[in-house]
């Protein structure tokens, strides 16, 4: 009996094995169809022959009706649809930006890769484009023109946009001004709680919406006058308004579409109005966009199909780039950069990106030597001087050339390269007071020695210095906090060794991302790695994060003991503002300054105020900029017509593949 049972079991196992083997067979048949690139060159293509034969047969069934039947089915169908398309000379490109996007709802998205996808799927009032010379410009998209605002008596500014004729959603319905009005109200609402809800801060009514006790019916001052006319009123004119119109948070969505909370997670419910429609989303794996015939400018869109593969593994991305499967990858393994630059000189790309990699101090960290008699304002000024001196010790050229290796630019100011003054000059070049160099200190390689000597002289005032060994004593031990990553670690190690050279001990501590954010935000650190990427081309997005109440005030300005430190002065009378503070607290100076900037309508004055704000910020020494970010990616040399914007969004609609 037992033996029979055992035999049955053994048989069952064998059967299971065959069954398992069996299930793979049909799967295999869908394989060659779905992966297009390697199929052509691989011997496997021969085996795939029956599948290909089967494909046209399937294709004759109305593909649209059958849409999302089952997970496996769309893959085969797509493939089926792809074959005849390829014959007709249709173009397609496969790229990989990152892993699965958290959301493709334009209002909820806050990621750069998500913004790229959304920018292909939706058409806002304005968009980024290249002019004839190849320069990036903001041009009207859904709007007929980007109108000038009309100033009202109360200082608010009203813009009236006319929508272009013939715009349709991907399901065929008309795009109306009401869709824009609805989308903006939704994106800015408390209920949605979108990361980028604050992008509507400039619109009149935003403060009411987010007031602690919002007045009845509080909403943004935006309305659809008729189907084609959208009227929006800003609290005051801002120079970057047109750029905001091209920002994904400002893209339209339709009320009946988004009433289904899961609308943005499945192609069957995803309705968009842009150059592309989403035809497939195999979660964690692949998002397929195909040209939207309903898009008004469809004739200008050159790329028929874009496949966004989803992987966040830099090595995997590189493998797929190297074997030709993917034409663009947005991440490269840090330790391969040098080799890639040498091996793929035409394909390794470095583009500017508006952002700063920096080290931030906790303003409340005690760094004076033990037994120091300095107190209050004197202590704060001394700390500021010490922090600024330490900032001079680091060799930013070494960090950029030997560690980061990605064409980054040594930074001497917090507001990043790429931010421009009203006259078009770089903001960072007019920062600081020196005529000899840009920013707040000289970061050229030649100045390194002078900087070092200068720093030593300052530190000597506060700490015991041994002339023979060149070591300070009495500097409290620091701990450098960074989030776990090889790149951050390498930079941390350099900073550590540079400080060890003058006798300052700095330990390294790494934390996993979410924990790190929490620790830094709560100010439970002495000195930490930090970075900031711009959302739009206006220095205010680098400056308003340091107000006392800001959620990004990692330095803890105006918090804890620093709340009562009255060490800052501010005099804006020369700019015609009634602000003069001597020895004020952070709240009395910096917060006031930021408020003045946000309410300022004179652009010249506004930029001068922003320079003053950065001066004040940098005088604390709490921010130690290391370099300005760049955007590194690999782009196949056969691809033409590609461009990216300074925010890191990439555009494939005008691409052709040779």
């Amino acid at each position: 009996m037992k033996k029979i049972l055992a035999l049955v079991l053994a048989l069952a196992m064998v059967f299971a094995l065959t069954a398992c083997g069996g299930t793979t067979t049909p799967k295999a048949s869908e394989a060659p169809a779905a992966t297009e690139a390697p199929a052509e060159e691989s011997p496997a293509a021969e085996e795939a022959a029956p599948a290909e034969e089967a494909a046209p047969a399937e294709e004759s069934t109305p593909a649209e009706e059958a849409a999302p039947a089952e997970e496996a089915a769309p893959a085969a169908e797509e493939a089926a649809a792809e074959e005849p398309a390829a014959e007709a000379g249709a173009s397609s490109i496969a790229v990989c930006l990152a892993s699965e996007p958290d959301t493709l709802d334009p209002a909820l998205n806050s990621a750069v890769d998500g913004a790229t996808l959304v920018s292909h799927l939706f058409s806002g009032l304005a968009k980024w484009a290249q002019d004839d010379s190849g320069a990036l410009v903001i041009v009207p998209d859904a709007a007929t023109e980007l109108v000038e605002g009309v100033e009202n008596e109360d200082g608010t500014v009203t813009y009236t946009y006319t929508l272009r004729d013939g715009m349709k959603w991907s399901d065929g319905k008309d795009v109306t001004a009401a869709d824009f009005a609805f989308a903006w109200q939704r994106a800015a609402s408390v209920e949605l709680g979108a990361d980028y809800g604050y992008m509507f801060e400039v619109v009149d009514g935003y403060d009411d919406v987010w007031a602690e006790e919002p007045p009845e019916g509080a909403q943004l001052n935006v309305k659809a006058v008729d189907d084609k006319t959208l009227e929006v009123t800003l609290a005051n004119a801002v120079s970057y308004w047109n750029e905001l119109l091209a920002f994904p948070t400002y893209f339209p969505v339709r009320e009946d579409v988004v009433s289904n909370e899961g609308w943005a997670t499945d192609p069957s419910t995803y309705v968009s109005n842009g150059a592309y429609t989403m035809t497939g989303w195999n979660h964690n794996s692949l998002i397929t966009l195909e040209k939207n015939p309903n898009y008004v400018d469809a004739d200008k869109v050159l790329m028929d199909k874009i496949e966004f593969y989803l992987s966040d593994d830099a090595n995997n991305q590189l493998s797929n780039f190297k074997n030709g499967t993917w034409q663009l990858i947005d991440d490269v393994p840090t330790n391969e950069i040098a080799a890639l630059k040498a091996d793929y000189p035409d394909e390794f790309k470095v583009e500017g990106q508006i952002g700063t990699y920096y080290v931030c101090w906790n303003v409340n960290e005690q760094i004076l030597p033990e037994g120091s008699e300095l107190e209050g304002v004197d202590a704060e000024n001394a700390k500021a001087e010490i922090r600024n001196a330490i900032s001079l010790i680091f060799d930013r050229n070494y960090i950029v050339d030997d560690i980061a290796q990605g064409g980054q630019v040594p930074a001497s100011s917090f507001v990043a390269m790429g931010m421009t003054n009203p006259d078009g000059t770089q903001f960072y070049q007019t920062a600081g007071s020196s005529e000899d160099f840009d920013g707040y200190y000289n970061v050229s390689a030649d100045a390194l020695e002078d900087n070092f000597t200068q720093a030593i002289e300052v530190l000597k005032k506060y700490y015991d210095y041994d002339e023979t060994t060149g070591q300070f004593s009495g500097f409290p031990t620091l701990t450098y906090l960074y989030n776990t990553s090889e790149g951050h670690k390498a930079i941390g190690e350099y900073l550590q060794s540079a400080l060890a050279g003058i006798g300052i001990t700095m330990n390294l501590e790494n934390q996993e991302w979410a924990t790190f954010l929490n620790t830094r935000k709560n100010g439970d650190y002495s000195i930490a790695r930090n970075g900031w990427l711009a959302d739009y081309n206006d220095p205010i997005c680098f400056l308003d994060m340091w107000t006392t109440a800001s959620g990004n005030n990692d330095v803890q300005f105006g918090k804890g003991a620093h709340k009562d430190v009255a060490a800052y002065s501010l005099d804006l009378t020369d700019l015609g503002l009634d602000v003069k503070v001597e020895n004020g607290t952070w709240a009395e100076t910096y917060d006031v300054l930021i408020k003045a900037i946000k309410g300022c309508t004179d652009n010249e004055v506004r930029y001068e105020l922003m320079h003053r704000a950065e001066d004040l910020l940098m005088s604390t020494g709490c921010i130690c900029p290391l370099y300005f970010y760049t955007d590194l990616f690999m782009l196949n040399k056969d691809v033409e017509g590609f461009f990216s914007n300074p925010l890191g969004y990439k555009y494939f609609m005008y691409c052709t593949v040779k």
């Binding site: 053994a10 398992c20 970075g531």
Partner: protein, 309 residues
């Protein structure tokens, strides 16, 4: 099957339920004790937005209340709730998506391992100390000791980059070939060694000698007696191994960009996506507990000498 066995199975099922409950409870509280939250990013959202989101997902309630609500939803409605990070998606759907790929990967790899491993092990045992045995042993030792990330990268470089015969990403069925091989090699080598030693053991048993003495053909001895009995340890290893490959394929999923459950699990932890962390933990825990249970019961069924008490 007698009453004793039934009682034992019942006891084990109860124990399994308790185990899963303990896993749920510990995960829930440890997860909430870890610093950071689901709505944190490099760019902080305002306190008001944070509060609105917490209220929306019930995270503003006392922890104990959240715990009981969660337990109730899971037990009564099998409702794992919505993902906090992938807005608009339900945890159960995300898990189902990931499981589909991971299960396909795991089952095929496990079957492959058994299909190749058992004959190899048998051959090695029958040709003990001959050249073929030595080759098999050297290879299996190599596969058992080589970590999957090295094996995966090696296969990737050879087949996807140098020869370009297979894709380097697991987004298609063809792309699953390399990950399946990577995953299958370790259990295959293990099964080979298991089969070999157990077969050697069986071949030395008295009843085999008796069969030989009685003039039974060697084919019948091998297939009718030796192989069958030597598969007992393999059968019991199969269940836990399957659970292990399905749940432990994270590294392989990462290397080949396979949309499996392992990647989803790890990113949910990094994101502090509480319902996702809970959901995946529960599913994986149930899988492992069930597989162990099944293999224990099978053990008893195939080898009656084992006392289940």
């Amino acid at each position: 099957m007698n009453v004793k066995t039934l009682k034992y199975i019942l006891k084990r099922i109860l124990l399994a339920i308790v185990t899963v409950w303990v896993v749920i409870t510990v995960t829930f509280f440890v997860m909430h004790a870890v610093p950071g939250g689901p709505f944190m990013g490099e760019k902080a959202i305002s306190a008001a937005a944070q509060a609105a989101l917490e209220a929306k997902y019930g995270l503003d309630k006392p922890l104990m209340q959240q715990y009981f609500t969660y337990l109730k939803d899971v037990v009564t409605r099998f409702d794992f709730g919505p993902s906090l990070k992938q807005r608009g998606r339900m945890v159960i759907d995300i898990i189902a998506d990931g499981m589909k790929t991971s299960a396909r990967l795991g089952v095929v790899a496990a079957c492959l391992a058994a299909l190749i491993g058992i004959p190899l092990g048998a051959v090695a045992a029958l040709r003990r100390n001959r050249l073929i045995d030595k080759i098999i042993m050297v290879l299996t030792t190599a596969f058992v000791s080589m970590p999957s990330f090295i094996m995966g990268s090696l296969l990737l470089v050879i087949f996807a980059i140098r020869l370009r015969v297979l894709p380097a990403n697991g987004s298609t069925a063809e792309g699953l070939i390399l990950p399946i091989i990577t995953l299958a090699l370790y259990p295959m080598a293990y099964i080979t060694r298991l089969t070999r030693s157990s077969m050697l053991d069986v071949l030395g048993q008295d009843y085999i000698r008796t069969a030989k003495a009685k003039g039974v053909s060697s084919a019948k001895i091998i297939f009718g007696h030796a192989l069958k009995n030597s598969l007992i340890p393999v059968i019991t290893y199969f269940g836990p191994m399957l659970a292990y490959i399905v749940t432990g394929s994270l590294v392989v999923e990462q290397i080949f960009a396979v949309p499996g459950i392992g990647r989803a699990f790890v990113s949910s932890i990094t994101n502090r996506d509480y319902p996702m962390v809970m959901g995946t933990t529960i599913v994986l825990a149930v899988l492992i507990v069930v597989m162990n249970l099944v293999s224990d019961i099978l053990y008893k069924v195939v080898d009656p000498r084992i006392n289940l008490e």
